[in-house]
Amino acid sequence: MTVKTPSKLEKILAAGHLAVTSECGPPRGSDPEAITHKAEMIKDHVDAINITDNQTSMTRMCSLAACIRLKLMGLEPVLQMVTRDRNRLALQSDILGAASFDIHNIICLSGDHNSFGDCAKGQNVHDLDSLQLVQTVRYMRDEGKFLGGDEIKRPPEMFVGAAANPFADPFEIRVPRLAKKIAAGAEFIQTQCIYNLDKFEEWMKLACDRGLTEKVYILAGMTPMKSAGMARYMKNRVPGMDVPDELVKRLADTPKEKQAEEGITICVEAIQRLKEVKGVAGFHVMAIEWEEKVPEIIERAGLYPRPKVV
């Protein structure tokens, strides 16, 4: 795949390296250090850093502002953008705002439903859906035009990503859905947290068989478990999550004070196994409020040092 944008993430992937991304959740407040401190912890171990967009529908510092903080640190942000909170006017406007700071990566999502968060009584927007947002960014970039048809002066240069959840239902459309996202213009994919490795490998094989991995870079989503309690919570309470019983048992059988360490080990083992899976182009390590562990995971998984690209 040829490089189309100045994105460092895209260059690393195009050069054939296994890419590593991670993410930082912005704070529920305005302290810039909440972002810069997290970024400092992981910056040498990752190629790019996602900033989540009001994740779990809780009001937070906006993704764009937090991405600008990263940019000011000389880092490579991935702007997460959900279609839940903004209409096409605001989405396009924020894309231009991000482009004005030379933010070169975006990932387009629909977002958790607003009923989960602190604005359950608010409106949700969903003027576009996530695929249509992918189309929109590609149109703005490739055609240099707004959805309304007018020309954009200095169009955004963004590497466009989308999410995929191989574990949501119905499974039979999970690969067709990936194909649909690629058809909409997605150039890279970050997956839902992977715990059921067999099912993920089955999904990857189907994607490979359809030739989809020739058209899109798939970054496998990894989230270390901090405890057996977290594993149970993820299994039972988080929508679209597939946590096998063996994994919960392995953590539950570990003494409490060692569970966090075991969680890291499980994550490292999973990365090592998935590194060998055909079509896996890299890893997206989401250590939720546990960013300090990202360097250890990446080093132990043999993904450090990170490649240099120009």
Partner: protein
Amino acid sequence: MIVADKKPIEEIIETTRNFKRLLILGCNECVTVCEAGGKKEVGILASALRMNALNQGREVKIDEITLERQCDHEYLEEIRNVVDQYDGILSIACGVGVQFTAEKYQATPVLPGVNTKFMGATEKRGLWVERCQGCGQCILATTGGICPVSRCAKRLFNGPCGGSGNGKCEISKEVDCAWQLIIDRMKALGTLEDYEKLSPIKDWSTDRAGGPRKVVREDVQL
């Protein structure tokens, strides 16, 4: 039909507190079917308000009328001769009926007695479910006859999202995933290959985004 639900009696007591002569106005259409605002409910509500007034030691005159419809001029005209007898009307029609009544009788306060919910169907007695949001540009032909605007919590045109599990929506195990239903129906129709067609960006100008809407049919106007 338009589905409505009864307002809590406490709210109605509060909003009608100052009326001495009250007309409770029912509607014989949708709200009768969904058992929120028909003749039967007019009677029950009138009895409750009379009883409450009696308990409070207040004297009120409460009358009951149920019109064929409150969304047509000709039926609303039927109360023209009696409207002056009341210092308030409690309409238990949908929001359309309440407003049409209020527009017609400018000098009389018209209050709503139900909460108008959605356009839906009777799944079974006592269970009404939403099926349409009146977006003004029907796409049911491309979605297996199941509407993602009214039935997907994120009104996704290219669903399902990652929150679909065991056929249910991420917001509740009580809510079907509309896209699971669409896919099931496409399979039953043998049109699953259509799933991969991208649904274009929606023109919402025919929805409420375009401002208050109207349908003009000159061919049927008198």
